[in-house]
Symmetry: C2
Subunit: 404 residues, 2 copies
């Protein structure tokens, strides 16, 4: 039995709940899915990328087909520094990684001892929860209000855990168009969170896959930006930016920026775990910037997604019973639905499947033992407008039955 050889962390590893759900809804004819976190394939800049891949391999092949630096492609880092415009930063403040989850893993590896406390928003991104879980962190979820993470709740929890002698490491947050809740942290709350964390010697991990996907309204400065520009602090926040919703998640490239010493340690982990991200793909991303494609492409994606978000919000208004509420994001790819307290979305999931519509039950976005059940996540970027209309009608119809 090979399982006798498994390490302890592997023995207790849970299989992916979302995978099981996806398996349960696989091959159901006519099923409309709002479950995935997938960008629309229509947004992938295929023609430009195809040309850039071809050029990069021929022109830079000697370089990008050879072993690359564990800290990331120098040309890509040049472009990222230009794009972000932080004159205070240089290459040592940046690293690339095989996607944002990978960068989160390295930050976790660099900071977390088993039992250390990490704070996260409730609900939060499942993919990060499983990383922290694999690193045996003690993950504490903090509720959100409409402005973001609840600082009173955070402060109370910090006091309580400090009194218990716990080691507190960092707050994990997705301030813009949060996954899964679709909430964006207000500017005031951002400043309060930064000041609170600084005073309490807590670091911040800012996960930023969506801030560029703002479909309306004015962009807010990232936590990293405020810390650097208003507090002159480069160490308080580590920001991780993904290209998954911009170029396509199959190109596994993201980057992290922050304190040089921390980035250096994260790079050391990358050296051991993958040696480096794919060098061809990194250089293609660099040329996508260098060719001036990035800003127009992002604008185009935002225009593209607008009608999908509007459609979903309109359909929810029309189809949902009065007892149901939902977030109204100005961007990102998700929104969050609160059901009446007595409705359990884990059970609703199976009924919904019979009604040919699916979603991720909200409970999957909470650390184990801290779940809420009367909630669910909807994605609006992977279905057609017709599917959104039909799917939300089905879901609303089902919920009306349940309430009756």
């Amino acid at each position: 039995m090979i399982s006798n050889y498994f390490s302890d962390t592997t023995k207790v590893m849970k299989s992916s709940l979302i995978r099981e759900l996806v398996a349960a809804t696989k091959n159901v004819p006519g099923l409309i899915s709002f479950a995935g976190g997938f960008p629309s394939p229509a947004t992938f800049p295929k023609e430009t990328l195809s040309r850039l891949y071809s050029e990069v391999v021929v022109e830079d092949g000697r370089d990008v087909l050879q072993y690359g630096a564990s800290e990331g492609d120098g040309m890509l880092k040049d472009e990222l520094l230009k794009w972000e415009g932080y004159s205070q930063l240089n290459h040592d403040n940046l690293m690339t990684a095989v996607g944002a989850t990978n960068a989160i893993y390295y930050m976790g590896r660099a900071l977390i001892n088993p039992g250390d406390v990490i704070f996260c928003e409730a609900p939060t991104f499942l993919g990060t929860l499983v990383v922290f879980d694999a690193l045996q962190a003690d993950v504490q979820s903090i509720p959100m209000d409409s402005e973001g993470i609840d600082l009173n709740a955070l402060s109370a929890k910090v006091k309580q855990l400090r009194a218990m002698g716990k080691n507190l490491k960092f707050v994990y947050t997705i301030p813009d168009f949060q996954n899964p809740a679709g909430i964006s942290m207000s500017l005031a709350r951002r400043r309060e969170l930064l000041n609170y964390c600084k005073a309490q010697n807590l670091l911040i991990l800012e996960d930023n896959p969506y801030s560029r996907l703002r479909l309306s309204g004015e962009p807010l400065p990232t936590l990293f930006n405020i810390a650097l520009n208003e507090m002159n602090d480069v160490s308080l926040v580590t920001e991780i930016v993904s290209f998954s919703k911009i170029l396509g998640p199959g190109m596994r490239v993201a980057y992290a920026k922050g304190d040089k010493e921390l980035i250096h340690k994260m790079v050391s982990w990358q050296q051991k775990v993958t040696v480096s991200p794919d060098c061809v793909t990194q250089r293609v991303a660099a040329r996508f910037f260098a060719g001036g494609y990035m800003e127009p492409h992002i604008k185009w994606i935002c225009e593209f997604y607008k009608p999908y978000l509007e459609k979903m919000l309109n359909c929810l208004s029309e189809e949902m019973p009065k007892t149901v509420s939902w977030t109204k994001p100005s961007g990102g790819i998700f929104l969050w639905v609160w059901l009446p307290e007595e409705v359990n979305a884990d059970s609703l999931f199976y009924q919904a499947k019979d009604h040919l519509v699916t979603f991720i039950p909200g409970s999957k976005f909470y650390p184990e033992g801290q779940e809420k059940y009367n909630c669910l996540r909807l994605n609006f970027t992977y279905s057609t407008l017709e599917q959104i209309e039909t799917g939300i009608k089905r879901l609303g119809g089902l919920l009306k039955t349940i309430k009756a």
Copy 2:
């Protein structure tokens, strides 16, 4: 001080010794380097890859730019199964990873608890040693003779460690054109090692980056092959195959094959650590097989490298003092040099730099505390024929001075 937040494993993490050596020899004009483990850029199939990248993104963009399976691209796994011709295996026996080191990391993550014993050849690949070190394994090095790992030494060590109550997990070996020693394990030794490990309930991790780079002589079956075909055992050996020396290491893609349950757990780790390897690159590798390019390309590379190996062996015969000996590999990219016992290659490294030639001192390929110093590694695939001639002359000249 951000270092106050670092995890214990990060605090004790050593910086890469090879990096320091590389830094010490950077920007030395006229320096000839046999240090790296780099394939020749002339062997990268740039034109074919350029075309395939372009085609894959346009034709399969909807698929390969989207999130991909953590277990690896299905088309690539189809091609790998065809290439290897094991009718007993299916997709579940295979996973892809972000390079071979990445697959080794997942195998380590799946099996190693801190303090567990891993056996390796002495000397062995430094990149793997740092992985096992990061996973807090107790790495025990076993000497080799001309036929490979010394089974008497292994057996004695196993007995001793079992008596101490230690947990023994697996033997890590590079049977073909071993890095750094250039030794290939004999067929008899392969069978003996397999039988010994099976009897002792030890697993085997077979690292196979070089077996296809056979420049002369008949290929030997891999350990995985013998275990499956002669012993009907798919669990004893996990084989990891890299494309780094065939397509180019900048394309981060390798694969592991073995027991389904173990592969499943390694995939679970991959899901947490990177989500998946780059999907575009995986599909390009698949099309490289599907287009029939792989076998002719490998043949071409082997023909290309032959004169380089011959040149280095001839130059060593001509230039080295009688007290120096070296391995005579039939393939791979390295050979290993034994110096007289009183010569320390760590010191020689700095003298050699002054003579404008460099290599990796042999001590870097042993676990800490188990080093040998009168040895060094030479690479023959990254220098020109002229550089090989001049570089070996410089090294031989220096060694003659030292012996005089």
